[in-house]
Symmetry: C2
Subunit: 386 residues, 2 copies
């Protein structure tokens, strides 16, 4: 893969995490450049989210760098705003940028005061080690309960590059807090174009992802465009490439859901609107009964139609067909003839598909990703903090 | 406890379950009597629910008996309506009643054709064994993944009795399908009074119960009033006694949630409306992260405020206090000072309480029951059918 031109990356250990693993990182653009971001919808919002949002408003969609830390979400603390501001000011000074050009992002435990001095102290080393080839180091530094590093890349016409990294392993864990995603690109785009492309790409990727139905205080996905390629591509081509990167990251997050062994893709076809279809798909995706059935390779379509039935979207059960791994298991709301043995084998794969079709006038096609639900999820979340 | 006058009970094994455990039961009132019921809100509805609803309409709220089976939900099958009708007609004949006076209820696997002949064949033996003291036998017969029998009793002025039984162990399991609840009473009430009392009592008991957020195809809670006490009590006194019985049953179901080791009571105070408070409480109750934290006796209030934050109800985090087991853990949205060691010990109990208070103008008090989330849930649901 080719990394976008105009960016440098660095990560180091600042002592925020208990274990000695990189926990603070910088992604720096050579110049202040068009930037866009989407943030959590939670009523409870971490200080870095509030500050990043404010900074983007102040600069009207421009940024120089992301300053990211893992190990502490800097959320629900007395000193949160001050800590975020201090870190951002120190980074700005070290980079010769304005504070408003630095976008902060944090992930980790919430409700524990964060020591800004650790970040301030780490910054000189961090800035000194900035390099164009340290993308992977940052992708590793932002991991928390993630078991795999998550990166994705795209090119447009061999001229423009996009590189994305993400962390997240419960859809969010409010405690481990969070899904974070960062995409660098060297495309020539305006801040407004970037925000539109990101908003559209998120709607069909990160917003169609659920691990446990929880939504974090720190969720952030952000893009900076260095324009260093000198190439302006069409808005459609850029949005498509960005969607490709975010879709790959979203699927990697689902597949790496806490304790997960399987990525589940849920398609709902034939609802009256996209939103109605997504509601049904999300209801199936969030049903612990469906997720445990897939974990056990159990072709239990009764749980699927039942979860669809309480999504709050009216439909006639007799209009519903359900497919698992491409096999028809429920026809017109009733059991179809299928080999349970064969389907159990088919479900014993790292990727499983569930497709629910409502036969009627609706034409909407909705897709949601999730993962199966295993004892591992309970183990990870029952004992994280203690 | 005193059982209500005017009822007889019987249970037997009809061969519907694979294991030789009672799977068909009758609760019979000496005369056709006032009856009321509430049913599932799912779009996918089992045949016995449809028929019971229709019968209650036909009789304008009178019934002679419940005919209940476990082992097959009689849902999403080709022959469902016919099977339910055949069973009900046979029971009516055996009891000398009208078919519309029989209320059917089923729980068990869905999508598998049910053999009505098994029930028809068992009916003579069942009717012959009807006895006033077989209440417990029926309470056992309706159990599926339940690990404990669930019964509750109340008296009004030493003159009127109520006796309730329930099954349910996931809030529902669409596959094991269902929460069922049956209450007998010898109070003198009209069908309309009975339906009002049941509707009100359900709102603050069974409707405030969640194990996994799933809602079954077969959920039914029903009351028959034999009037055999000859005593008419006030509507308020009756509703209070019925609420007491249903609250006890609801808490027993939560405590026996699949794999659960702990009953969790969630109180939300200070929301603008009861419905808003319940939305927040339900969001906390359905969060796998909160439920796994309680399982691990982890005083992780960050997950609680986060789950409250995505309930869709606006509030200021700085207005929020949270108590666990009566201990203040979060004050004004920030960590309170508390002994983590002491609280961990307090959480290591069969009953845990979470109380979230929004300080402001709201006066609503909402309460929801749920259970913790353990590896046992996954084990039970990952391998039930296979």
């Amino acid at each position: 893969m080719n990394l976008p031109l105009g960016f440098r990356y660095a990560a180091t250990y600042a002592g925020i995490r208990k274990v000695a693993k990189d926990d603070v990182a910088l992604i720096v653009c050579d110049t202040a450049a068009p930037a866009a971001a989407v943030f959590t919808q939670n009523q409870v919002v971490a200080a870095p989210v509030t500050l990043a949002r404010k900074n983007l408003r102040t600069t009207r969609g421009r940024a120089r760098a992301w300053l990211i830390n893992a190990g502490n979400a800097n959320c629900a603390t007395r000193t949160g705003d001050k800590v975020a501001a201090t870190c951002v000011e120190a980074a700005a000074k070290a980079l010769g940028a304005k504070p408003a050009e630095i976008l902060p992002a944090s992930t980790g435990v919430i409700g524990v005061e964060m020591d800004a001095r650790k970040v301030v102290k780490a910054l000189p080393k961090l800035v000194a080690s900035l390099a164009a080839d340290q993308f992977d180091a940052v992708a590793h530094a932002i991991m928390t309960t993630d078991t795999r590093v998550k990166t994705a890349f795209a090119q447009i016409n061999g001229q423009v590059s996009l590189a994305g990294m993400a962390k997240g392993s419960g859809m969010i864990q409010p405690n481990m807090a969070t899904t974070l995603g960062f995409v660098t690109t060297d495309a020539v785009v305006s801040p407004a174009e970037l925000q539109t492309a990101l908003k559209n790409a998120i709607a069909s990727t990160f917003n169609c992802l659920t691990v446990d139905g929880d939504t974090s205080t720190n969720d952030t996905v952000s893009v900076i465009a260095s324009r260093a390629s000198g190439v302006r591509v069409s808005a459609a081509a850029f949005e498509m490439a960005l969607t490709k990167v975010l879709e790959s990251l979203a699927k990697q997050i689902a597949a790496d859901g806490e304790g997960a062994r399987k990525l589940i893709t849920i398609d709902v076809e034939g609802a009256a609107t996209l939103e109605a279809g997504r509601k049904i798909a999300r209801s199936i995706a969030n049903s612990p009964l469906v997720k445990t059935a897939v974990a056990g390779s159990d072709p239990n379509w009764g749980r699927i139609i039942c979860a669809a039935g309480y999504a709050g979207i009216p439909f006639k059960p007799s209009d519903v067909d359900i497919y698992m791994q491409g096999l028809l298991v429920c026809q017109g709301g009733l059991a179809a003839k299928f080999s349970e043995k064969k389907l159990t084998q088919l479900l014993d794969q790292p990727e499983c598909s569930i497709r629910l079709v409502i036969k009627g006038k609706g034409r909407a096609k909705a897709r949601i990703w999730t993962c199966d639900f295993t004892e591992g999820y309970i183990r990870i979340n029952g004992s994280y903090r203690t």
